[in-house]
């Protein structure tokens, strides 16, 4: 029995099932070899159950979602760090991470990326290592053999270690070009570099030389902006790079990087690079994995509702004072949340009107709330 047949029966019975249920019916009818009449009976029964399970009109889904996320939240650990996957990287988990997600923080405390590779490169360790060194931050200090500051001649010599360069799969010429671009007064003699400070004849000369030494050591010679350490690991048969720090836009442009799977945990970055719908998916994914990692299960529908609210007006908004709760139309609803005085004062200056259409404002003034059976009114039928 194929799906088309099920769809036609479902249509005939005027049921509006989602794709997943239709697929399940098709699978079940095939397994039990149902006849058309039996299938119709099955669809009838499922329609009854489906209608019963549906959320009632006027149900306070937002409140239920808040409770359903909030209650397991009380059981989450306050402990911030630890990472299940790669031991060397720290990633914020638990309650602090969940707060970060719903607050839609611009700067999250531990941004990280998971970089995957296209099939032809995924098992090529050499290629992955080379890419990892292009992405990860490498400073001059990482590739030197010897470092000398000579206070008598006011100069400093650096010896580059060729083994380290080849180990990190870097190019000697590129490094030299970077150094020449960054420092004007430098002499290059194969692997021996000697630097001189710009000021050499004053009482600040020694300080200047020391500052130069730090600058030389910290010169970045490889890496993508905003990305620090990288960790290479193997997941199944393919190689994956996890990073500290994140720059999705730049990494997606690199050759060999899998452009469909590579992702970051920074929701604002996902929104900027992949759009608002991807941002919504990222919120759902991050919130759910954070809960699951703690051994808590929350129905996705609640998280989906939160994500829908956060992305409804085209950009990722936080839940709370600066986001959704702060933009409510009703003065009383806003005043009841936070900063009561400020909202009441501003509303009175502007002459705002409260139309008492929401829940909170009606509770405040002691009226029945527009919820459940309260969301419908009674209209008298005129007699002719």
């Amino acid at each position: 029995m194929d799906i088309k047949k099920v769809v036609s029966v479902v249509k005939k019975k005027k049921a509006d099932f989602p794709k997943s249920i239709i697929e399940e019916i098709a699978e079940a009818s095939e397994r039990h070899n149902l006849k058309v009449k039996e299938l119709e009976k099955l669809v009838d029964e499922i329609k009854k159950a489906y209608d019963r399970a549906e959320v009632e009109k006027g149900e306070a889904v937002g409140t239920v979602a808040a409770q359903s996320v909030g209650e397991p939240g009380t059981q989450m650990t306050m402990r911030t760090f630890h990472y299940a996957g790669v031991a060397e990287l720290n990633v914020t988990l638990g309650l602090p991470r969940l707060i970060e997600i719903v607050d839609a923080r611009k700067k999250i405390s531990t941004p990280t990326m998971a970089i995957y590779f296209e099939e032809e490169y995924g098992t090529n360790e050499e290629f992955v290592r080379r890419i990892a060194n292009r992405i990860g931050k490498i400073v001059l200090n990482d590739i030197i053999k010897d470092f000398n500051v000579n206070y008598a001649t006011m100069s400093m010599t650096v010896e580059i270690d060729e083994d380290k360069i080849s180990d990190k799969r870097l190019e000697y010429d590129e490094i030299i070009a970077k150094i020449e671009k960054a420092f004007k007064r430098v002499e290059i003699n194969k692997n021996l570099l000697s630097f001189e400070p710009t000021i050499s004849e004053s009482k600040h000369a020694i300080r200047e030389l020391r500052l130069l030494a730090d600058k030389v050591r910290d010169l970045q010679i490889s890496g993508v902006k905003n990305i620090g350490k990288v960790v290479i690991s193997k997941e199944g048969s393919e190689w994956v790079i996890h990073t500290e720090g994140s720059n999705l836009g730049a990494v997606l442009k690199m050759e060999g990087v899998n452009k469909t799977k590579t992702s970051t945990n920074d929701i604002h970055e996902v929104e900027k690079v992949l759009g608002i719908e991807a941002g919504r998916n990222a919120i759902i994914h991050e919130a759910q994995t954070t809960m699951e990692e703690q051994g808590l299960t929350v129905d996705v529908r609640h998280i989906m509702l939160v994500a829908d609210m956060m992305t409804a007006d085209g950009s990722v908004k936080s839940i709370g004072r600066h986001g959704i709760s702060g933009e409510k139309a009703s003065v009383l609803a806003r005043a009841s949340f936070e900063e009561t005085g400020k909202h009441l004062l501003r509303a009175s200056i502007r002459g705002e009107v409260d139309y008492l259409t929401g829940i909170i404002e009606n509770i405040i003034i002691g009226q029945p709330i527009p919820l459940g059976t309260g969301s419908v009114g009674v209209v008298m039928k005129e007699r002719d």
């Binding site: 991807a278 829908d308 007006d313 085209g314």
Partner: protein, 77 residues
């Protein structure tokens, strides 16, 4: 190169509705177009598929619960 982001697993299908489809959808949902969720005109996906402000995008999401879910967003000015 340009269409790469549309293939990303986090990005669902976006299609631009024609005028007649727009009216049909709004009538079926019984709402004004301002009541739809919004999408910014400088959203990377909007730029990629070339939608104009005032267009309505049909978004076909992969859903954990329903398998497939269709929703709409209005492109902001």
């Amino acid at each position: 190169m340009k269409n790469d982001i549309l293939k990303h697993k986090l990005v669902p299908d976006h299609t631009i509705l024609s005028k007649t489809e727009m009216n049909k959808v709004l009538k079926q949902l019984n709402i004004h177009q301002e009541q739809l969720p919004k999408i910014k005109s400088d959203d990377p996906v909007v730029k990629d598929i070339g939608a104009k402000p005032g267009d309505i995008l049909k978004i076909t999401r992969k859903s954990h619960t329903a398998g497939k879910f269709v929703t709409y967003r209005l492109v902001l000015e």
